[in-house]
Symmetry: C2
Subunit: 376 residues, 2 copies
């Protein structure tokens, strides 16, 4: 994997670049739609590529490990072939999902014991086993096994957790060095900065992660409930320590305004379930603000869902029709809304990239943040 920065915004730390992987290029800043179980819920692979215009998607190691499982994925020749997707994939480490299994998991220095949310069966994830699983899934970019602390988090818990995440990181790196990719293309490994909302911990963690000299770096443990100011402060602090010439991935972020502000701080990559999950609840993101399509006000509004949407379904169907589909709980409602939101998020980062190239990102971002934060 290589990363080339092509443009820097004069008014902020934003940059436009290109990541090159075995499955194609990724133009940054980029947003990655979440394809939890080998599918971006409700849309076809051809639509992810040609309607949403995604350049990379994210898979969840925890879910793929449980179903279809590593045996099937190995026989299939990896996740790309299994789901018939030949552009880049990134997999998370499963950590975030495992910690969410409240009362069904136990964290120790060795790793995490947990019970499956599907059938209650018992499993164990360690830094080593998670690297092995990600080898079999075969994503282009694989993430370190870390502990993602909740918000709020006691200082001492955050500090101990961060230190364990750092020790786990060294075990992940060792395992990656000792093993080979399962298929005929290389995999890039990305460590994750933790430290909750404590500046001294974030600084220490960012310095530790930077010192590993990996080809890409990530920031975890944000967008977990903390105030947006804290998210931005931590992101800014960490971006000033992580190497400039490596892609920076802010995990699990977020709202359109969060993405714009974080691009300004020097972030290159994003993922979030919000656009796809909220689509299934009838919440539509547009450049003029949020639409709750279930509201009665749209019932006889025969204007397009969004005349400016990159998704043809949002330009050719009306708000009244989409509201009807949600009111009668038809699958097509979620399908149209998901195409809408994901194509908007990709438009947002693509437009950011264009503005960075033109050197006008900062002023455009200031206006767009106000615009997207409205409710229609």
């Amino acid at each position: 994997m290589t990363f080339k920065i092509e443009n820097k915004d004069p008014g902020s730390a934003a940059r436009a670049g290109t990541i090159t992987t075995a499955h194609g290029d990724i133009q940054t800043p980029i947003f990655m739609p979440v394809g939890t179980q080998g599918t971006v819920k409700g849309i076809h692979q051809s639509e992810i590529r040609d309607v949403v215009n995604a350049q990379i998607i994210l898979g969840n190691t925890y879910h793929l490990y449980l179903r279809p499982g590593t045996d099937i994925l190995k026989k299939a020749g990896g996740l790309h072939k299994f789901m018939n997707w030949d552009l880049p994939i990134l997999t998370d480490s499963g950590g975030y999902q495992v910690y969410s299994l409240k009362g069904m998991r136990k964290i120790t220095e060795e790793g995490v014991k947990f019970q499956s949310h599907v059938d209650g069966s018992r499993h164990f994830f360690s830094p080593e086993s998670v690297m092995d699983i990600q080898r079999i899934i075969g994503a282009d970019i694989v993430m370190a096994f870390d502990e993602c602390t909740p918000y709020p988090c006691e200082y001492n818990y955050a500090k101990n957790s961060m230190n364990m995440t750092h020790r786990w990181l060294l075990r992940c790196i060792k395992r990656m060095e000792e093993t080979e990719p399962a298929y005929d293309y290389p995999q890039t490994f990305a460590p994750i900065v933790q430290g909750s909302t404590y500046p001294d911990l974030r600084k220490e963690s960012a310095e530790f992660i930077a010192a590993q000299g990996q080809d890409m770096n990530a920031i975890g443990g944000l967008s977990v409930g903390e105030p947006h100011e804290d998210m931005y402060a931590m992101t800014d602090l960490v971006c000033n320590i992580l190497p400039t010439d490596k892609p920076r991935y802010l995990m699990g972020v977020g709202l359109p305004e969060n993405i714009l502000e974080s691009i300004a701080l020097g972030i290159d990559m994003f993922d979030c379930v919000l656009p796809s999950r909220n689509a299934r609840h009838g919440l539509l993101y547009t450049k003029n603000g949020l639409i709750n399509i279930k509201n009665a006000k749209w019932q006889d509004d025969f204007s397009p869902i969004d005349a400016d949407s990159p998704a043809i379904t949002s330009r050719t169907h009306t708000k009244a029709y989409l509201r009807h589909l949600f009111k009668v709980e038809e699958l097509l409602g979620a399908q149209i809304a998901t195409l809408h939101n994901l194509s908007f998020f990709i438009w947002l980062v693509t437009q950011s990239r264009r503005k960075i190239q033109e050197g006008t990102f900062y002023t455009w971002k200031e206006e767009m943040v106000k615009s997207v934060s409205q409710r229609l």
Copy 2:
């Protein structure tokens, strides 16, 4: 609406023709995907047209009357505009759905009182009101308001019901003659033959319907649980009485083998929820038989879902992948399976048409009936 018969099969009563409507031509024999509530569940309108290759879809008057309701449909300019579908539409009369509301409806000479399955609210359908509703929905072909008798059905009930259906038919025709289309294109009205599985009643009903001289005729009350031999016997009897030069529509039929046998008896049009409903349960129709994709035997079968399918998603995705989607209850499973089944049903009637044109339908049909009846 016009109907032109272009070819007749030398070995059976099958014929190939073209129905011309204001929204385009329909090449017969044809299968109509069911779009109950203004959407064919789980697939986009562009996919109905370009992947499934449907030439006409069916809407359900009962469901559309309840939601979005006639006010919204009228403001939208009719169902075509509301759902952004510019090929032909046929609407049923709502009768079948209303009779299914066991314990929540009362049938009298005047019409049917019923309670909504959505909120229990009280409504009344009469032959006149159902014609008015179908004017507002604006389908190209609208169906008579009839009583669809269940199976088995006592002779006297079937006879009385048939006679009431005939009286209702005259009221429907009168209402259609007294009213104008709500939009700028004509609507074709189709009466329905009833009479359960009693040959004398079917004969009487077919003669009554034929005498009305409408541009299209339909056969109702079959595929409701009776043996297939009875279905074919009644269809054969009725087809020999209904005019040859008008399209014949066999309502609610059916399995691939039912469609093939009925084409041989002179049926031109079909609709059925089976391919779309069963798709959502993981049952796939192919020319080699039925696949239950949830079966464990497919879990590591990496061959295409169906290499011969007209749907690209069935050619490019594997059985193992589709099984995974069903096991983890992902929306995309139903989407891929629905595209598969509907495109297979359209392939089946299109292929029938080709064989009729070539004069080889009968022998091909005999083999295909055996083939599609298998379980894989």
